[in-house]
């Protein structure tokens, strides 16, 4: 049994006066303690919605179905009450804009101690002491807990947000674009911190990003999402050196590399709308190697080699030849 098992997760939004939007369509993945897993894709692919569902933080007009097992317990089963027992305690999250995650009128130390009291982890002086320790752990002097978020730089705020997420000793840390707004050097510092925390605390890390090189740098395994589905998942090395879905291959080719000599390409077209029925493979209109059957049959995500899954009809051909 894995620490976190997501199977057949569906999330759909019901906007007023509009068709349902199927943001996440049957996403499954699992990870163990200490593992670093990347969830990659472009805007609107469902990666953020997936992790918000794991946190039970979907907006009121969204519904989720499927299973999210933490140590074998389905946290989706009992509605908001059951999620509240897990949220921050077993699974915690770091958000994209650290300034928005922190309350501007409360001292940073207080904000880190608050969830501890809520979940009965620590109270009063003990909570404050632990808040100081957490700050030290993420590389901020404990005394800085007496300061307000606006007195922190962008990098320090993101560190404080990470300390806050760690307050109740979660087993799983979800990080949604944790470095997108940061400078490269600060990004490197935060990525190093997250990698170290996963290693030292045995945290399972889910890193959500649009930035393939960041995933390549940090994660052992990753899943590529497109139009609400995982289209390829496997070790990051396999995704780069042996991609089995055209979208993965094209995404890497669209990403400039510092020393790359090959031309940087763009992928024509745009992802499909998710408020209607999609027949066939959702990537077919943008695919550079489509087959006739891709028009009608949506390829299933299946094993292409050990630990490596892809949803592309081309893999059947490879197997057959």
């Amino acid at each position: 049994m894995s620490l976190l098992e997501v199977s057949g997760l569906h999330v759909w939004f019901e906007p007023p006066h509009a068709a349902e939007v199927h943001a996440v369509q049957g996403v499954s993945f699992a990870l163990d303690a200490g593992e670093r897993f990347g969830l990659v894709g472009e805007s609107g692919c469902g990666k953020t919605t997936t992790v918000l569902a794991l946190m039970g933080l979907l907006p009121p007009n969204a519904s989720a179905a499927g299973e999210v097992l933490i140590d074998g317990q389905n946290i989706l089963a009992g509605g908001e009450d059951s999620v509240q027992a897990y949220r921050w305690k077993d699974v915690a999250m770091v958000f994209q804009g650290a300034m928005n995650a922190l309350n501007p009128v409360k001292k940073v130390g207080w904000q880190i101690a608050e969830p501890m009291a809520f979940h009965g982890v620590a109270q009063g002086a003990a909570a404050r002491k632990r808040a100081g320790e957490l700050l030290e752990m993420v590389g901020i002097p404990a005394a800085a807990g007496d300061r307000y978020p606006h007195e922190f730089s962008g990098g320090m705020r993101q560190r404080a947000a990470i300390a806050m997420a760690l307050a109740c000793e979660p087993k799983i840390l979800l990080a949604d674009e944790p470095t997108t707004a940061l400078d490269v050097m600060v990004q490197a510092q935060i990525l190093e911190l997250l990698t170290g925390l996963a290693r030292d605390l045995g945290l399972a890390l889910v890193l959500v990003t649009h930035d393939l090189p960041v995933v390549a740098q940090v994660c052992e395994r990753a899943a590529v999402m497109y139009a609400g589905e995982i289209v390829e998942a496997g070790p990051t090395e396999a995704l780069y050196h042996n991609p089995r879905h055209p979208y993965t291959r094209l995404l890497f080719a669209a990403t400039p590399d510092l020393y790359g000599r090959d031309a940087v390409i763009s992928i024509p077209g745009a992802p499909p709308r998710l408020d209607g029925e999609i027949t066939g493979c959702p990537f077919r209109p943008r695919c550079d190697v489509p087959l006739d059957r891709c028009r009608d049959e949506d390829p299933e995500l299946r094993l292409v080699e050990a630990g490596h899954r892809a949803a592309c009809h081309r893999n059947d051909l490879v197997g057959a030849s």
Binding site: D183, E192, Q217, H241, L250, D257, G260
Partner: protein, 352 residues
């Protein structure tokens, strides 16, 4: 092309200019832009000394027609202030910004206006730079109306169609009456580029032109800029924090730190043979696509110091991994480093 007389001349003139003594499209010479720090009542009463933000502190470079130069650095390094000064939005404290030989820092607002057409800017976020209530045609026609050019309504529309085709929104008639919310991010940025091109600028400033866009459409917008400068006889100054993009698309890279250019040279030379310790550190932390290339990043501690109190000597010395005693005292100037493999390579470090 009526009303284009004051824009940088037709291709034939500048082609001749390559051999003649024609001044460069853009010459930034020892540019200094300092901002006054606002003092509160208390500070004034106790006569606290006036403080200055040294946003740009002695920057020099040139940009020719057809060239793309990337200004690379972290936030607070002065790259955006440099661009704002070139645009004439900020008056420099000292130094010169010469456009086709004319120093814009010495011009009045009225004299500046026609010159503004020759320098156009593309912003980072096409979701904010386009007016959501404007149809594409209005966004593109607006600059012509502001500058009183473009002729009749029909002529303006013809120009709009022409420029939309140039930025790859084809067939243009299909896009004319759309609103920004009906376009993808990449298409919006193309509209913003069209609105900049319609004035026939000689110099385009692109401030992080693709960082808000999805990975799959970035290359398309960057290739468009690449084509425009090659075919359009235009110079492009790209401001970015993304060294991979700069390395791929720019001819030259200038790395800025705390208001100065600390390294400057042909892109391949700067990326493959960096000389300044700051450039080396920056390059080492750029994530690579290949997980097998996970290099040991050389992570500098802390963040860029406050540009109000710039360190003595070399401004990088407090964070420099190889700093020596003299780096605290001597302020290094840009010069050809001993390890350079290109004569156009410059670095501001006492130790190279």
């Amino acid at each position: 092309m009526s009303g284009n007389e004051q824009a940088p001349g037709p291709a034939t003139v500048s082609a001749a200019g390559m051999t003649g003594p024609q001044p460069p499209l853009l010459e930034v010479a020892d540019l200094v832009t300092h901002y006054q720090v606002r003092r509160g009542v208390t500070e004034r009463l106790i006569r606290a000394p006036q403080q200055w933000v040294h946003a740009v502190d002695g920057v020099s470079f040139r940009l020719a027609r057809g060239e793309m130069v990337a200004l690379v650095g972290e936030s607070g390094c002065g790259k955006t202030t440099t661009a704002q000064t070139i645009l004439g939005m900020v008056k420099p404290t000292s130094g010169a910004v010469r456009l086709n030989g004319t120093d814009i820092a010495r011009l009045s607002e009225r004299q500046l206006r026609p010159l503004r057409r020759t320098v156009q800017m593309i912003y980072q976020d096409p979701y904010e730079s386009l007016d959501p209530r404007f149809r594409v045609r209005e966004s593109v026609e607006e600059p012509m109306l502001v500058h009183g050019i473009g002729g009749s309504r029909a002529e303006r529309e013809a120009k709009t169609v022409d420029v939309l085709e140039r930025v790859g929104l084809s067939p243009a008639r299909m896009y004319l009456d759309r609103f920004p919310h009906e376009l993808s991010g990449g298409q919006r940025q193309r509209v913003a580029i069209a609105a900049a091109l319609v004035l026939g600028p000689g110099l385009l400033l692109a401030d992080e032109p693709v960082s808000m866009l999805d990975v799959s459409v970035r290359a398309g917008v960057l290739s468009l800029l690449d084509t425009l400068r090659r075919d359009g006889d235009m110079g492009i100054l790209m401001i970015t924090h993304d060294l991979s993009t700069a390395a791929r698309f720019a001819d030259r890279i200038a790395v800025m730190y705390l208001g100065r250019i600390v390294e400057h040279g042909p892109s391949a030379e700067v990326v493959r043979n960096p000389q300044h310790p700051y450039t080396k550190a920056l390059l080492s932390v750029v994530p690579k696509r290949d997980p097998r290339e996970r290099a040991a990043p050389q992570i500098l501690t802390g963040e860029t110091p406050n540009p109000i109190s710039v360190p003595s000597g070399c401004r990088f010395h407090p964070r420099c991994p190889v700093a020596e005693e003299r780096c605290r005292r001597e302020d290094p100037q840009l010069r050809l480093p001993a390890g350079a493999t290109s004569p156009a390579h410059q670095a501001a470090c006492l130790l190279v």
